[in-house]
Amino acid sequence: MATDREVLREIWEGKLPVCFELNQEEVNDLQAPEPYYLIVPRLSYFPLVTDKVRKHFVKYIHPDKLDAEIWLDYNGTPLKWHYPIGVLFDLNNSDIQLPWTITVHFDKFPEEELLHCTSRETVETHFLSCLKEADALKHRTQIVMNMQKKDHNQLWLGLQNDKFDQFWAVNRKLMEVGGEESFRYIPFRCYYKDEPCLQRLIKPLSESGCRKTLSQLLEELNMLQDGLSQLKVTTHGIEPPLDTPLQWMSEHLSYADNFLHLIVSSVG
């Protein structure tokens, strides 16, 4: 069970400075608007923090586009709103200069690359479905299904309003091992190069009953052709040591959706 509150707290408090700029081509005013700076939580999602940004920039765009959905890009690549902000940052970490400068668009929605996000409910639906998927891997969905609607709401509101205690009061139950020694499988998503994220059924214990570590996970994903020293695993902006047990990582280093998001890149 997740007992290490210090780590949980640190992970929860992870935040990023972001500078939002309006796309130059969409400015419909004599002077370009000032950039908007925000500190955003790593565990949150962009649609939950961009209300003020939209309000700031909406005065400067063409009146026809007032109701358009906003979308974001960094360096020309659209940012997927359904990834947590921390994951998006870590994916591009190699060439980001802080504060992270993101361009805001109202026009020309990239239909092929992004999903539409019409409201916060869309994000909520996505969030809850991720939770259920993770629970299915960990406990065969027993815990999520036994929760009441108000527990789901509490999880969502805790994330939305950045309330650590509110969120963890419920999330604690999801991190329980429930009489056994560990979860059935570790819910994780692994991002390697530019391929879509990788998901496998990996148990937290080996056949002999020993706790598996991060390096064993990489081994099972067949990523060790070039040797351990050639790989770099990043999550929450840090590189966890390769001998960290998987069970502990899943309990403490998961994002709010209960998934471990591991960004694997090769050194050099």
Partner: protein, 358 residues
Amino acid sequence: MEGGSTLSWRENIINQIQNRNKEQLFKFQDLITSHNRLFDNHNALRHENLQLSIQNEKLRSEGAVIHHGNGNVSILESKLLAQQEELTELHKKRGENAQMLIDLNKKLQEKEKKLQMVEESLAERTATNNSLNKEIERYITHKTELEKVNQHLRDEHQALQLAFYHLEEKLRKAQEENSKLVDQIMKYKSKTAEKMNEENENFLRKCNLKLQRELEDAAKDMKGINFDAIPEDGPNMQRSQVPSKAAVVFDAHDGVASAVQWGPVDRVIATGGEDRKVKLWDVSKGNPENRGVLGASNAGVMSVHFDNTGTYILAASNDYAARVWTVNDQRLRVMTALLFLNFIDIKFDISDNLQVGF
């Protein structure tokens, strides 16, 4: 791994997070919060500025109105106009009031007329009331007279009733006498009957004696008669035929056949037996043909009988009952009440009513 490899993975992770925060967050946090504050201030000021300019504009336009006005005169004129309007309104009101007064007067007159009419009708009513009262008095006197007559009649009635009782007593006495006389007559009659019987018996005895004597005389006379002298085919003698052979013999019942009867029409025979059945037979073709079996009896059938037309058949049974069937459809039509004696024979009488003999 800046934390050094000697630390455990947990401390390593915490160190990394703290370093991350130092690099990524703390450098910018204050800057961005102050930036946000400035932004908010800027927005608030801009909003305030907008409102002030609007207020300014409003005040300016008001000032213009005041400049263009011509002071007191215009105010007085407007007051005058208002007063005049008030005056005309008051005039109008007065006219309305006068009109209302006239209307009310008219209404008053109408009401008075109505009142008069009501009074007249009241007088009429009282007159009729008086006449009715008189009539009532007359009826009362009439009633007393009738009561007197009634009393008179009642007295008479009582007297008559007394007379009636008297007469009734007489009648009863007469009846008693009458009954006594009837008894006497009955006695006399029985006596005469006895006498008659005696006479009859005597007569019969005499007759018998006479007959005996005659027979004795005749026996004495027989000695002289020669039988051979009588011719064989004498004109006065006819040979009678006694049936010696049965035309048809048949078994009608299981056990004893106790009753048999010819039907009045056709050649139909009804038989009744100890087997509790009545059977109908057609013998017109020489040999018997069963036409039907009439059940329903609860004991042996003792007697059967047709009515005159042959449509009904009657049977008496040892179960103390008599039953009637129709011949055509062979259905039970009548069953007599149970009796305490067995039927031995029964007959239809001429009018087809059931008559029973024991």
